[in-house]
């Protein structure tokens, strides 16, 4: 075991020095008693008191005793070691002794200031001194370690504080990284018009500095970037990862010409103008922004586009329609969809399901808008393929799947040939969907367009008979099968074979191909899907007098599109729910005469999640009828393909195809659409066609068919959108022909007019912000726009970090009684600032929302400050900026301006004078916290005004001041993510949530993390003057470190006595700095003291006590524990 070993002689000689700290200690602790006690302590040779030990004479006492050999160890009982330990260590050293033969007893912060009773305080002081004495006897001489400081500096936040600090350091010739999360530097100051108290223009001070930053050779500016992580690089320096957020504009090539913003169709509220003005989706916060580069705000794929199986960019063409840019809209549509005029009519538009607008009122009529464009340009052309390739590809079936597949392949240069069994192309589109929903000429036009770009279609060519799959496989590079599902499911009830019992598709096909025919007076349609409705409505058009839809569940469970259901009802179709067919009655001669039905009731949910219908026993009843149409789904017509194809099937009688690639078990043969999924909607068939085309393309190019295809097909977007405050405005119904005409096959809906279309399009909420219309790319001469840009992570190493992350203004909505967000003419100070700014949204005019000039304006101070309910601290700047605003408002509007204050706090050079000047200018000051802002008028002169109710505490009455405009002097709060940020940088937040300085007086810009400094409002509310001063201070701190080149570290590192270590490795995982490693050939743990930061966790853990910590050895601590408990 070690013994005290002063360099002089055997026994320790300890000097105890008790500080009065003026009266701070002496007034509470009985110094004399303490001294007397100290003298009785072991090895104590000197026990003295002094008024201020930290003063030179105080330190001299110590040094003298040391020099003259009276003592060789020092205990000072005074303030906190965090305050003066360094001071006294230095004194000890200068006294010729190792500085670590010193120990401090904190009898001020921990005793005299916190103890009520003098006696108890004295006792506590004694105990702490006893502990220090016993501890210091075991101190050992130690050397401080020197670590080099990396010369580069990181400044986080480029408001005025960050800019100032960066410039100072850069001017000193050091490298600075300046990181700013916004697209431009300048921070809040850039938003201001004038600065108090001099009323000089903020821009004039700031903009030169901003440009300087931009051009300074020593500053590497990273805007629109955020610090991702900060890790220790070595003992003292930092490895910082910085996220360069994707701007989608190339910083090097963008010239800031602003042409893109002119063409951009999307306008959103401008953050920089505090929402008083608008900006485009591609933007630059303000003309003088630095760097002068544009940025595209993209929130991500809009929900509508994500929900669409073929990812049709709906927001894109909708926004363009709203702007009247119809041609451009068409181009956007054709980007992803070759059959828009069909989709615009009969797509079940899953896009509208996720439409954010639905949270407000109703989704947009997305298909209606698409249709509007296609109607507007009946003769539009499909894009010609850019490349040509020799391969021919066979496509079986000309339904949406086949057509889409063909189109996609053609665009890739292939030559698709479509084989269609029916006389007309279009598959289910042509045979299954009635003309009054989808006019034949529309289908024809679409198919002709496809032919125009070189897609061959062979109708009346059934594969399997005319030509076999085998042949196709031989003659074509690949085959896609999209034969749909055309074979009717059977009802499986007696009498199904009777005349005038139709399958839905069978019936529709007959009408579609051969025209309407007489069915009979009373027609029953069985089923609840879209085809049931089509059949019913077609039946009506075939002259049936009474058409009834019989469905076994209820309206709620009908799979059909509700709009179609309504339409059918309008046209006179009846519905009979909870009814299932039991038998079809009639005979060969009469044909069907009636349907025997069973009543049903809803039971537990089935596989589809819908309640399963259960028959009610003995509830049979009979419905007389002349014809029955059963529409209960279809299956693919596999027979037609000619028996055995060798293509694997599922138990539902559909083709088996790989989910991701749609390839069948036959290489080169792909299948998709209804023949794989069973009956499904058009857009999903198209999706299948596209999917197959991609696979085929990859198949023929011999590249992996599976890689990176996760994002094909529908998905839900994560981000949420705040729709509060959106005014309700329901969907504009699409014009339709009058009911009378709905017995013909004329198309029912006539489509939007331009006015209606634009109005409907304007309802879009721009979910994705940028609508991806790509107009900007077309206009940008510098070709700077890159939609594929991704966030990038940059890694740097720095020796010091300056945090200048600023503040966020208090959210005035939190105090409803001041009416912000309720009364339009209640503004926040920052909004007022923007209004006063000549470059602002009102170009410097102070205006009410209706554009008129205010005659009276009230400014309410301390909004969110000095208030226990919100922030109890004073925000320091509000009084003065309120004065400034008062002046500017009065100057520009000659309005009466009232300041409602609690106390005027105008400390600072020339501030009081500024205040006086405002008084002279005739601005009114009312002393009293405002109770409420209300539009409740009690007298005629209050009518139509905002009334500010406040107690005037100087004259002691409640006053009601009617004004036109209210400005809320909102306080300063820490940034919303301050807590997250300070964790990143290993520092703490103080009360109020602002970053905590190391010492309020002695170290106001340092933090508890070495080498990390704080400047400006992130440390606490302060004005520009103080901010700049503080920024300078941080710069100085950083420069000191760099110029000295090293720091001395507290030698409190841990060490392992290797000869005593058993190599149990318990300590190794516990070291957060990986300072401990296992030495295989010594078979012990070894400490890399260069990496040790001195927490001592390993020491506390070492099960055999082989690890110890300098300055905190077990024995030193035991001594201290015994000491504090050695009560006298």
């Amino acid at each position: 075991m070690s013994t005290p070993e002063p360099k002089t002689n055997g026994a320790p000689k300890i000097g105890v020095y008790v500080c009065h700290c003026g009266v701070n200690i002496a007034a509470k602790v009985h110094i004399a008693e303490v001294i007397e006690f100290a003298q009785t302590l072991p090895f104590v040779t000197v026990a003295q008191e002094y008024k201020f030990m930290c003063s030179d004479p105080g330190q001299e006492l110590i040094q003298k005793d040391l020099r003259e050999g009276r003592i060789n160890r020092v205990v000072v009982a005074s303030c906190s070691p965090l305050m003066h330990e360094m001071t006294f260590r230095r004194a000890t050293a200068e006294g010729g002794q190792n500085p670590f033969f010193f120990q401090m007893a904190n009898i001020r912060e921990h005793v005299s200031w916190v103890t009520a009773d003098g006696h108890q305080a004295t006792e506590k002081a004694k105990a702490l001194i006893a502990a220090a004495v016993r501890r210091v006897a075991f101190h050992k001489p130690l050397e401080k370690k020197r670590v080099p400081v990396h010369p580069h500096v990181l400044v986080v936040g480029a408001g005025i504080a960050g800019i100032e600090a960066a410039l100072k350091i850069a001017d000193a010739g050091k490298k600075v990284y300046l990181v700013e999360r916004e697209p431009t530097i300048g921070g809040h100051m850039a938003q201001f018009d004038k600065c108090f108290p001099t009323l000089d223009c903020a821009a004039c001070i700031l903009t030169p500095k901003m440009t300087q930053v931009c051009v300074h050779p020593n500053i590497e500016l990273m805007t629109y970037s955020e610090v991702e992580s900060v890790e220790p690089y070595d003992l003292r320096n930092f490895k910082v990862k910085i996220r360069r957020k994707a701007r989608f504009v190339n910083e090097d090539t963008c010239t800031g010409c602003a042409l893109c913003a002119d063409v951009c169709p999307v306008s959103v509220l401008s953050e920089f103008d505090e929402g008083l003005g608008m900006r485009k989706a591609i933007y630059r916060p303000f003309p003088q922004a630095v760097p002068n580069i544009f940025t595209i705000s993209r929130r991500g794929t809009p929900p509508c586009q994500a929900a669409c199986s073929i990812h049709q960019n709906a927001q894109g063409y909708i926004t363009l329609i709203a702007q009247g840019k119809f041609k451009e809209a068409l181009d956007v549509i054709l980007r992803d969809n070759p059959l828009p005029s069909i989709c615009g009519r009969i797509c079940t538009h899953p896009c509208t399901v996720n439409c954010t607008r639905a949270d407000v009122d109703e989704p947009l009529s997305i298909p209606g808008l698409k249709r509007f464009i296609t109607d507007l340009f009946p003769n539009y052309k499909l894009p010609q393929p850019a490349v040509e390739r020799p391969e021919k590809i066979a496509i079986v079936g000309s339904g949406p799947a086949g057509l889409m597949c063909a189109y996609e392949l053609r665009q890739r240069g292939f030559h698709p040939v479509i084989f269609e069994a029916q006389p007309v192309a279009g598959g289910m589109l042509s045979v299954g969907i009635p003309a009054f929903r989808l006019p034949r000429d529309v289908i024809k036009a679409e198919i002709d367009r496809l032919k125009e770009i070189g897609i061959e279609i062979k109708t009346n060519t059934p594969v399997g008979t005319a030509v076999t799959i085998e042949q196709l496989r031989k003659q074509y590079a690949a085959v896609f099968i999209g034969i749909g599902a055309h074979v009717e499911r059977k009802l499986k009830v007696p009498g199904e074979a009777l005349p005038n019992v139709w399958g839905g598709i069978e019936f529709l096909r007959k009408v579609n191909l051969e025209g309407p025919f007489k069915l009979g007076k009373k027609v029953l349609v069985i089923g609840g899907g879209n085809s049931a409705l089509d059949a019913a409505r077609t039946a009506l058009r075939c002259g049936a007098e009474e058409v009834t839809i019989v469905y076994r569940r209820t309206r709620a469970e009908m799979p059909a599109d509700p709009k179609e259901v309504e339409a059918a009802e309008e046209e006179g179709a009846k519905m009979l729910f909870l009814t299932a067919p039991k038998a079809i009655l009639g005979n060969k001669e009469t044909g069907v005469t009636a349907l025997e039905c069973l009543k049903m009731k809803l039971g537990a949910p089935d596989a589809s999640g819908r309640p399963a219908p259960e028959p009610i026993p003995n509830s049979e009843f009979v419905l007389s009828c002349d014809a029955i149409i059963a529409t209960i789904g279809q299956v693919p017509d596999l027979a037609s393909l000619g028996g055995k194809l060798g293509i694997e099937m599922t138990k539902w009688g559909t083709f088996k195809a790989d989910e991701l690639t749609l390839e069948t078990n036959m290489p080169g043969v792909f299948a998709g659409g209804d023949c794989v999924t069973g009956p499904d909607v058009v857009v999903n068939a198209m999706y299948a066609g596209k999917k197959a085309a991609i696979s085929i393309d990859r198949y023929l190019n011999k590249v992996d068919m599976r890689a990176g295809r996760e994002h094909e097909g529908p998905y839900r977007t994560e981000y949420a959108i705040d729709t509060s405050g959106t005014t309700v405005q329901r969907q504009i119904p699409m014009p339709a022909i009058e009911l009378a005409r709905r017995r013909t096959f004329d198309e029912v809906h006539t489509g939007y007019t331009q006015e209606l279309a634009i109005a409907e399009a304007k309802r879009c909420l721009d979910c994705g912000i940028c609508c991806d219309c790509r107009l900007c790319a077309t206009i940008c001469e510098a070709k700077a726009i890159n939609y594929e840009m991704k966030d990038e992570i940059e890694e740097i190493v720095v020796g010091s970090i300056i945090l200048a992350t600023g503040f966020k203004p208090f959210d005035a909505r939190r105090i409803p009684r001041y009416g912000y967000g309720k009364y339009p003419n209640v503004y926040t100070a920052l909004e007022a600032e923007r209004m006063t700014n000549s470059a602002g949204p009102t170009s410097g005019e102070i205006r009410l929302r209706d554009g008129s000039k205010p005659k009276a304006v009230g400014i309410i101070h301390c909004v969110g400050s000095r208030d226990r309910n919100y922030n109890s601290y004073c925000s320091r700047v509000c009084c003065l900026y309120s004065l400034k605003l008062a002046h500017l408002i009065k100057e520009r509007t000659h309005a009466e301006v009232y300041n409602f204050y609690i106390d005027m706090r105008v400390p600072g050079k020339a501030y009081e004078e500024f205040y006086d000047r405002m008084l002279e200018e005739g601005i009114h000051f009312i002393r009293g916290r405002v109770a409420e802002v209300t539009d409740h008028a009690m007298t005629p002169d209050e009518e139509g005004k905002l009334v500010i109710r406040a107690e005037d505490t100087l004259i002691g009455v409640i006053r009601r001041i009617p004004v036109d405009m209210v400005v809320l002097a909102v306080g300063l709060e820490p940034q919303a993510d301050a807590d997250e940020v300070r964790r990143k940088f290993y520092i703490s937040c103080g009360s109020g949530g602002f970053f905590l300085e190391r010492h309020p007086k002695l170290a106001p810009v340092q933090t508890f993390a070495d080498g990390i400094f704080i400047a400006g409002a992130c440390q606490g509310p302060k004005d520009i003057q103080d901010t700049i001063a503080q920024a300078g201070a941080t710069a100085a701190e950083a420069l000191v470190l760099i110029d000295r080149g090293f720091v001395e570290l507290e030698p409190n590192t841990a060490f392992i006595q290797e000869e005593l270590c058993s190599g149990c490795k318990t300590c190794i995982p516990l070291c957060p700095f990986n300072a401990i490693s296992f030495n295989a050939e010594k078979s012990v743990a070894v400490m890399n003291e260069a990496l040790c930061k001195g927490c001592g966790t390993c020491v506390a853990t070492c099960p055999s006590g082989a690890a110890q910590q300098h300055l905190f050895t077990d024995e030193q601590i035991y001594e201290e524990i015994e000491g504090v408990l050695s009560y006298v």
Binding site: P816, R817, G819, T934, H936, M938
Partner: protein, 298 residues
Amino acid sequence: MKYLYYPGCSLKGTNRAYEESVLAAFQALAIEVEELEDWNCCGATAYMAVDEMKSFALAARNLALAERQSRADGPTLMAPCSGCYLVLSKTQHYLEEYSEVSRTIDGALQAARLSYSRKVHVRHPLDILINEVGVQTIAQKVRQPLAGLKVACYYGCQIVRPYAAFDDQVNPTTMDRLIRALGAETVDWPLKTRCCGGSLMGTLQEVGVPLSYILVKEAQKRGADVVATACPLCQFNLECYQDKMSQQFKERLQLPVAYFTQLLGLALGVPERRLGLHRLLIPLPYAAKGRGGAHVHA
């Protein structure tokens, strides 16, 4: 879920209409309500002013009874009268926060062979309707939309202050949301929680009457057909003193003041008599389309 119901004195007396409409409306919504057995004075006004501890004791007894009567763990005690609501809530709060109150009251309860383990949730019907039943559900059950009726929702002071348990202290919106769900329009006015005069009406009328007047006048000015209240005293002050106001301020005031539950019942198609609408001194305007329909379902 079954709710315990604490009527308090006024709902059994002058303001019977409130009780009638609460019970009828809840029944129409198929919400079970069970009256607290052997309840006593909640301890409001006079008591609270003179001797807090006594009024806590009174309130605590009710709470203890509630715990005993309900099988549920943490039963809900519904108090429509905002006076009762406040005192019961306050007592609950003090029992939890202040040990000495807690000790004294426990002693008092013991003397009455009662015990209270602080489990009761005191809630106002408005809270229950909005946060338990939900606006959508209610909207679905509306049979006679109050289309065309313009309602000024008046919350009074006590259900949002000092305990803003379910709504904002300054600009509450729950009642507005409810009333809108019934198909009526609500007028946006700033006096939702302004003082109605309270008990000053009885003690210092020259102060009380003007306070009520401010409210009625503003509601009328903003085009309200009716003021909806959630408090017996407010209803009483605003309705009964309109003649006095008219004399004092030389203008004719004839603005009906109804309980929000009466409007709710009306929209749900409960017959008028069961809602105590016949007790109103100033009858509801015919504007309430609900009336016609109400009889159909009577």
